[in-house]
Amino acid sequence: MREQTSHHPLSERMAPLDPATWEALWQLFIQIGRFWGNVPEPEPYRTRFQTFITSRMELNPLYRELYIQARHVIEDLIAAHGVEPAYEVLFTDPLANLAPPATPLQFTRQYVSNELIALQLALGGFLAFGALNYPGYFGGGNVPGAPAPYRTMQEEP
């Protein structure tokens, strides 16, 4: 019997995502770091972001459509508000977070933007908030004699 895997059978015939959509998603990732001021240099995350987007589409080919739609949603927001205000609307509009999603904006916020926030924090975005480790971050091993990969208790004198 077929094992449950992250590779959806329908994804095998899926057309590749177009470069403009890739770029729009990457810009969204960058804008998350800009809006919250937690990732000043996103470039080192780029290929891991690519792995993430690819694996979302392979897990569920519907993501390809969600990503294409997100590109258009963001383009429309930018046309209406300008670049930075557009992302501010996407990130903060409470209506966009109403579940279950029904509008393109709601789908973009909940399935694209919010997931990239989760990814961004786990890749290293959390570091700006004062911790050394975070759920989803490859903190490193417990190597005897080396500093722990997380903040440790200071023994009282």
């Binding site: 995502l17 290929t47 792995t51 690819t54 091993g141």
Partner: protein
Amino acid sequence: MSLPQEREQLLHRLRTGFLLELGTIPPYMMALLSIRAPHNRVAAELIRTVMVEEMLHMTMVGNVTLSLGGRVAIDADHVPRYPLSLDFEGQRFRDRRFDVDLAPLSSATIDTFMAIEQPDGWGAERQAMATAELEIPGLTIGDFYRQIVQSLESMCREYGERAVFSGDPGHQVSEDYYWSAGGKPIKVVDLETARRAIDVVIDQGEGTTTSIYDGDHRQFGQRAELAHFFRFREIHYGRHYQLTDKPHAPPTGAPFEVDYTQVFPFKPNPRPGDYAAGTPLAQLNRRFNKAYTLMLVQLREAFGGTPRTLYTAIMNGMHGISEIARQMLALPIPGDPDGYHGAPTFEWVEAR
């Protein structure tokens, strides 16, 4: 020469070393994956452990590169191609004057693997070659790495260790990035650690002519493990070594099954044209090469200042391509007169 010039020369050699180590992984991987489970389990395990240690060697070379403030080069022009000819500056390595194929497990494949890992000064054939040394210039792999150490030593004498090892150690792949192998990455911060890192690469591969064991138990305080060459000799003879066995004598320990018929046959060094457009094998091969390329890009990043990317390169990349390769190996090429199955072509394709 100035320090920057000498450094650049050395980095050039290290780039060759990195590609050399990287280039051995796909042949080992394909021999391993070609085995039809549940047959040849012992051989599979032996090949697997060698493959994992080649990843460690690649890491060591990457760390030495980073310690000098360099970056490894992996791009469309710097990727292994198969058949892999192991050469340096247009010259074949003296102990590598043969091509390495992507091929299923066979007696010939194991012979090639033994040749790849053959210790310096092994056997009569080698001695014959040594006499021809004057006529055939060229290096052994061991010499190649030893020369790197010598260059480091001379640079340190001239410019001081601090000036030579100017890279950010935080960019290197440290002990806690690595798992499941005999040995662990060594952070290179000075001449001493550079020597230790390179010694691991030389020792694990070649062992020594006086011992069948690698130097790990001295380096890492672990139980003595067979050097790669002798692990392949075990497969060659279908028999384990015993602690008392001598290097030049065949192993005398417990026998195990080696059945070269229990493999998925595939055409050595497959090409994309082997799979008709639109067929499942063509689709799988395309997926494989995209994933392989992304993995290579992530390896470049991991050894380019973002070591954490190594996790994704291995957990997603290495595991992902292995699975696709397994699927291809299970599929016969429709109508193929030789009864070949599919196998990935290991090619660089533009990312995305």
